[in-house]
Structures are given as structure tokens and as C-alpha cells.
Amino acid sequence: MAGDGITEELKLVVAVKQVGVVSDEFEIAADGMGVAPEDLDFTMNEWDAYALEAALSLGEEQQAEVIAVTVGSENTEPVLRRALAMGATRAVRLDTNPEDALSAARAIAGFVRTESPDLVLCGVQSADAANGATGPAVAELCGLPWVAVVRSVDPITTPASLRVTRELDAGVREVVDVELPALLTIQSGINEPRYATLRAIKNADREPIEVVACDSRPASHLRRVFVPAPQGENAESLGDDPAVVAERIIEIVRGTEVAS
């Protein structure tokens, strides 16, 4: 049975987010509450790809079920398809539109409590909102210990505990032991997320995605979004001619530049 420290098959839950990427030229939506949808591309959050890879690697050392879960409406299912193509064994969509990180965390926590996994993995933060908040909130709501900003995960050698390394400022790291079940937030650079083969991508399109109703409640309220005033105005432009730019750089390096 998973989650009781005596696991024959590991049960791993990985939270993945489909993040928006803003195109070079974009506009704010008419309602002022986000970027215009046509100006957004979507992709799997980079940190979550690292988290998923970490789970899949752990799952290669012993039998494991790797459950990819996302919070969102139907248009977030591509991120689950990508997770399945990479090797996740189950894909679950929690059917609500989370307004903020804690809203997503409440939804995920509800799911984690029903599944009782051995380990929950989240990315440290998302590339679009960069809250860095979802993981620890999920852990707290599930009564799990957690370690944030994990840079390496040792193989699971005992059913009861895990040794990880977490990242502090300035390149300093800390080695920490945590009892299972637990939650980790995974930092970038921990591994190299695997590519999905074309065949796996095709197969993933046919796999089922479980859709689960859930509770969520935000901890903040969005009033509006806006484009901030440009702040690069203080920098002197070196112009568009690469030769001139290069000459100016060399002057600056040599300390012979004349400030204008």
C-alpha cells in the first residue's frame, strides 16, 4: 500500500502547470485581466519538467506509478499529454481555473489527500507567475513535511526516508533528510528532462485523462494587469550597426570610452 512507508510500488504525484509565454508584441486583453489570449503560446512549465523527470528517474530504480496532475480547464490538457508522452502512467486534470498559487494548491492538496502518494514533486516556481508558493502550501494542507528548492534527490534506499540536497544563495547547498511521505519542490538544473519520442506523443494522444472536480479558493484577488512603463530608458543606445557597437564595447573594456 502506498503512503504507509512499506511500499512495493512507489506512488509519485507530480504537479505540472501549463504556462503562458508572451509573444514579442502583445496586448493586454480588453477586460484588463490578462494578456490577450491570441498573444500567448503555451508550454509545460520548465521547472515542472525537471520535477517530472526526477519522478520518472526515481521510477526507473523501482516499480512506480507516476501521476501527472494539473489544475485548469480543458485547454490545459496538452501539458498532461506531454507528461504522458514523457512517461507518466496516469494523467489527472483538476477541473477548476485557479486564480492564484494557493487556489491551485488547495485543488492539488485535495487530490493528494485522496491518493496518499509516497512523494509529491512540484517545480520551485512557474515561468509565468513565478510565485514559488504552490508546493509548500500543498504540503501544509496535506500534513506532509517538505523540502523546497531541491537540487538533487538520492535514490530511495529505505521505504521511510529520503536524502535530498537543497539550494541556498550563492551556490551553497544543504543536505537534508526527510521522512516519507513528503513533498519536494524541484529546482532547475537537477537533471535533463527526457524528450518524448514521436511514437510516445502519438500514444499519449489516445490515453485517457481523468477529470476530477475539486475545491479551490484563492488567497488574493486580481484587480488588473498592465504593461509597466519602460524602464530601460536610462541606457544609452549604441545603435544598430554591429561594427559601431563592437567598437564602443572595446572602448568601454579598455576604459577609453567617452561618456556622452
Binding site: 514559488g132 509548500p136 550563492a170 551556490g171 551553497v172 544543504e174 488567497a219 543606445s237
Partner: protein
């Protein structure tokens, strides 16, 4: 306008050696910039010397002596939650740092408080506090508030608020509390120092720094040579170090090195906030990036929005 149920500000400080981090004074400044934020209490995890309070412009300093920091983020969260439940502050502030990110959202989730992180602006609105934060790497900002919330927990970005001046009369009160913190914790094992297997880039006078704009690792050799030709030290932003292009000792940024060279040339670096924190005090900053909105330009002295490889071709020609 604060709720009648809660009042005052709790600032969760971080320790650096035997003092509190510089961010503490910034957080106090932020608290003082909004209305009805006093009394201001500074919370310190673990016991310490009363002298740690010297100069802190707050009304009270509270040591949570039972918070053993070696027991990790869950214990920090339990300690802060206990003090919040006891003292019922309207505002809880901490730095958006590795430490703050470890416990703050957990505390807010567990007690159903308002929450926002990496906050870069804070002000009073007609119905309570209003915060500003960035989205999409800074291309967009969001304004958020916390309707019908008695206590809000905010992680503030470091370096945005000016530090409150030292106040030798404060704090007037020092307290110690020792709540029972029986939680599932983690166990500290060891600290691993930063990797130092390569050059010390903090000693370089001129740094040539490359980022994601240099897409192809096959090009690395060109930049190594160019750095030599320029008499510069080659450094990297985080994504390239994550991808294994060089030793972590050459990484510029919050999780790498903080550098203050005479000249910093940033090629193909967008300027994520963690990167800027590692180089924005450099003497002269030149940034080349085809994205005119790249945050690196906020700190640059000179800018060029042309293809970095066109510039590199010319630099190679001129330094042959």
C-alpha cells in the same frame, strides 16, 4: 483600512551570522509606508542575543526559541503560524528569499490568510492593501488585493524598498516565546560549500557574460576565445550552467556569484531578477539582446537590440 480583528505588522527576519539580514530594514520601511501598520514586531526564529535587536526600528523583537532551524521549513512555518495565531497581526512581511519561500505560502494556506509573493509594490487602497507583482518575467505587472481578509502574508522582493534608518531607541521590548512545534519536520545533515573548481569571477575586472541567446553549445569555444582576446573573464547566466556549459563557479546570479566588475558585458541575457541581483552593481553594464523589453536593460548603461552574433563577428574582427 484594517479589520478590527487584527492589527499591527509581524516581520519575519532572517539571520546572517549574529545579525539580522539587511532585508529586515527594507521590510520595516515597507510596513511604515502604509497606514495603520504599527505596532511592528520583528520575529526571529531560534534564540539569540538581545544585542541582535540593536538599531532595529521596530516596537518589539520576539525570539521563537523553540524553532530549531535545523528542523527545516515545516518548523519555521509552525513557529510563524503560532505567533500569528497568538498576536493576530494584520500584515505579515518577509523577504522573497529561499527561506521565506519555504514557509510563507504554507502558513497562509494552513490558516486561510491572504498571500502574495515577490511583491514589488505595496500601498493602501480604499478597501485595504494593494500589491503589485510581475508576470511573464516582468513584461506585465499585476495589481492584486485581498478583500475580506483579516491577515495578509506578503513576501517582498529584496532591494526594492530602501532600508529604514537605524533607530537606537528601538525596539523597546524583547520577548521570548516557546510554542510547542510538534510537526513532521526535516533533518539537517550537512552544508556543502559552493563549488570553487574554476576561476573566481568575483575578482574579474571585466566580465563577458552569456545567456540563453547563445543557443548552441558548439559556439562556446568562440566566446572562450573572445573573452581571452578582450582580457575578460567568461561567465554565464543560470540556464547555461544548468545545461552544463561550465562550472557553477562561473554562474552570475543569486544562486551563483555576485560580481561588481568595472565592466560587465551581457550577451543574450534577458535579465531574470535573480541574475540582475548578481550583477546590477557593476561599474559599466553593456547589454546586447534582441528583445527591447528584456529586463537586463533596466540596469544597463549601454544597450543594443541587435543580434549578438553580429556583434561577436565584429568583436572578433577587431581583436584578431
Amino acid at each position: 483600512m484594517t479589520s478590527p480583528n487584527t492589527s499591527g505588522t509581524l516581520i519575519v527576519a532572517e539571520r546572517v551570522g549574529s545579525s539580522l539580514s539587511e532585508a529586515t530594514a527594507e521590510l520595516i520601511s515597507a510596513a511604515l509606508s502604509v497606514s495603520d501598520s504599527r505596532p511592528i514586531s520583528v520575529l526571529v526564529l531560534g534564540d539569540g542575543d538581545d544585542a541582535i535587536a540593536a538599531g532595529i526600528a521596530a516596537d518589539e523583537l520576539v525570539f521563537v526559541t523553540s524553532a530549531d532551524r535545523r528542523r527545516g521549513a515545516p518548523v519555521a512555518a509552525a513557529a510563524v503560524a503560532s505567533v500569528i495565531a497568538d498576536r493576530r497581526p494584520a500584515l505579515v512581511l518577509a523577504a522573497h528569499s529561499v527561506e521565506g519561500m519555504g514557509w510563507a505560502s504554507a502558513v497562509a494556506a494552513g490558516a486561510e490568510l491572504g498571500f502574495a509573493s515577490d511583491v514589488i509594490g505595496l500601498r493602501d487602497g480604499p478597501e485595504g492593501r494593494i500589491c503589485q507583482r510581475e508576470l511573464y518575467g516582468g513584461k506585465v505587472q499585476a495589481e492584486i488585493d485581498f478583500p475580506e481578509t483579516d491577515t495578509i502574508v506578503l513576501l517582498l522582493r529584496r532591494g526594492v524598498w530602501s532600508p529604514a534608518p537605524k533607530d537606537d531607541r528601538s525596539p523597546t521590548k524583547i520577548s521570548r516565546v516557546a510554542p510547542d512545534l510538534a510537526v513532521r519536520d526535516t533533518t539537517y545533515v550537512a552544508t556543502v560549500d559552493a563549488v570553487t573548481d574554476d576561476v573566481d569571477i568575483t575578482k574579474a575586472e571585466v566580465i563577458l557574460s552569456i545567456g540563453r541567446g547563445v543557443d548552441d553549445k558548439e559556439e562556446l569555444g568562440r566566446f572562450t576565445t573572445l573573452a581571452e582576446q578582450l582580457g575578460a573573464t567568461l561567465a554565464f547566466s543560470r540556464p547555461l550552467i544548468d545545461a552544463g556549459w561550465a562550472s557553477p563557479s562561473r554562474q552570475v546570479g543569486q544562486s551563483g556569484k555576485t560580481v561588481k566588475p568595472r565592466v560587465y558585458i551581457a550577451l543574450g541575457i534577458s535579465g531574470a531578477i535573480q541574475h540582475l541581483a548578481g550583477m546590477d552593481k557593476a561599474g559599466t553594464i553593456v547589454a546586447v539582446n534582441t528583445d527591447p523589453d528584456a529586463p537586463i536593460f533596466r540596469v544597463a548603461h549601454y544597450r543594443a537590440t541587435i543580434d549578438l552574433f553580429d556583434v561577436v563577428d565584429e568583436l572578433e574582427r577587431l581583436t584578431k
